[in-house]
């Protein structure tokens, strides 16, 4: 248990926005930049902006979740950290589960916070904002879990791994987007519940899928 806490402390120190120089802030700035540019691209049409703004926040959140993927596992595998953990009997599953928590903490809550200024930029009303925030709360753990799985699977690919990881995340995130952003148009709680259910399945799967992928790349 104390080992898991030590791992979490280290992971947060590496992933939280502001840690390790400016690189960890990029996903958040990227998220806000998309929300800021969108009204310029669409033009000053309040109805159109208010109708589509919630969806844009969702797409921006997905892109923000993709940006840190190449930092999740590759540096630790290269530095031999995973070998040392394995020798100490810390399973890959535990390390991946802890990293999933740290990865979500490093973008989920911050994206939800940044959605407040973003909602003002795209001009959506309070009720829509509520559905967006609830949807992000239900959906971002799932986005984090997809990111963790893909980052672990592509970790041994040198060079092109990061770009490929981004591409692979997108189709897997489609169900989350359909139900999460779909809840905006139907206004129903059903979409949110389904988003949370998909997230739950992904979060439960991620440590085992990710752990197996890391182990395979170590033994190969």
């Amino acid at each position: 248990m104390s080992a898991a806490l030590a791992l979490l402390r280290r992971d947060l120190g590496r992933l939280l926005p502001g840690a390790q120089g400016g690189g960890t802030l990029l996903p958040l700035l990227f998220f806000l930049a998309v929300a800021m540019l969108y009204p310029f691209a669409i033009g000053p049409n309040p109805t159109l902006l208010a109708g589509t703004g919630g969806g844009v926040i969702w797409v921006a959140a997905l892109l923000a979740a993709i940006l840190p993927l190449d930092r999740l596992f590759a540096p630790d595998l290269e530095a031999g950290m995973f070998d040392q953990w394995a020798l100490r009997g810390l399973s890959e599953e535990l390390v991946v589960a802890v990293r999933l928590i740290a990865h979500w903490l490093s973008f989920g809550p911050f994206v939800m916070l940044a959605a407040l200024p973003a909602s003002a930029l795209v001009g959506i009303d309070g009720e829509t904002l509520r559905v967006v925030e609830l949807g992000l709360l239900a959906g971002t753990p799932g986005l984090a879990a997809i990111g963790i799985i893909i980052a672990a699977v592509t970790v041994s690919l040198r060079g092109g791994g990061a770009a490929l990881a981004g591409l692979l995340v997108i189709p897997l995130a489609v169900p989350l987007l359909i139900f999460g952003a779909g809840a905006l148009s139907t206004g129903g709680e059903g979409g949110l519940a389904l988003t949370a259910a998909i997230s739950l399945v992904l979060v439960a799967m991620a440590p085992f899928a990710g752990g197996a992928a890391i182990r395979a790349s170590r033994e190969g």
Binding site: A3, L7, D83, Q84, L87, G89, R218
Partner: protein, 192 residues
């Protein structure tokens, strides 16, 4: 020190299509040390990873009792962290006190980020991590690379002390390692 032994029977290792070595057996008990010798690429590091349980042998079995520590070319310390903090991370997992910082000449370097350390300093930092783990079985992959003569003598003393306490050491190195009780295993005799 806890009871320890390590043995391997009839190991074979394959890399891609190439069989690196086959029919390799060894057995070590408390206080024994073994040096693996052989040319570059003959499979010393692969054998180390198999003995550590980090890679699977193509055939054969590894038996082991007691925990195991590995030192290889990667120090496994966070590059951007000061050395003290990077070592603290491993201490928080291994438990216990910092070991050997003074003997390894690292005390003055604790505030220096790991990425600024020289090759020899990195190796000494990795040795501090190894000492802190307090494992009875040491696997040292090229432990003398990048070290000056003073540090080489220190590593030889550390290994001798470890053996005297009832530990096991397996050293893969192409350099001579001064240790009276060291037996040698030439991998070239097991090339398939």
């Amino acid at each position: 020190m806890e009871e320890c032994r390590i043995s391997a029977t009839n190991l074979a290792c394959r890399r891609g299509d190439r069989l690196l070595f086959a029919g390799l057996s060894l057995a070590l008990g408390p206080g024994e040390a073994l040096q693996l010798v052989g040319a570059n690429g003959i499979g010393k590091s692969s054998l180390m990873r198999i003995l550590a349980g980090l890679a699977r042998p193509y055939s054969g079995e590894v038996g082991r009792q007691g925990s195991l520590a590995l030192l290889d070319e990667r120090p496994a310390l966070d590059e951007h962290q000061p050395l003290g903090r990077a070592l603290d991370f491993w201490r928080s997992i291994d438990g216990g006190e910092a070991a050997g910082l003074e003997r390894l000449g690292l005390e003055a370097l604790l505030d220096v980020p790991v990425r600024y350390l020289s090759t020899g300093q990195r190796k000494r930092a990795a040795l501090a991590r190894l000492l802190g783990q307090r494992a009875p079985i040491w696997l040292l992959d090229e432990p003398l690379n990048g070290l000056d003569t003073h540090a080489i003598a220190l590593v030889e003393t550390l290994v001798a002390e470890h053996l005297a306490e009832g530990g096991i050491a397996i050293i893969a190195s192409h350099q001579t390692f001064a240790l009276p009780t060291l037996t040698r295993l030439a991998l070239s005799e097991h090339v398939a």
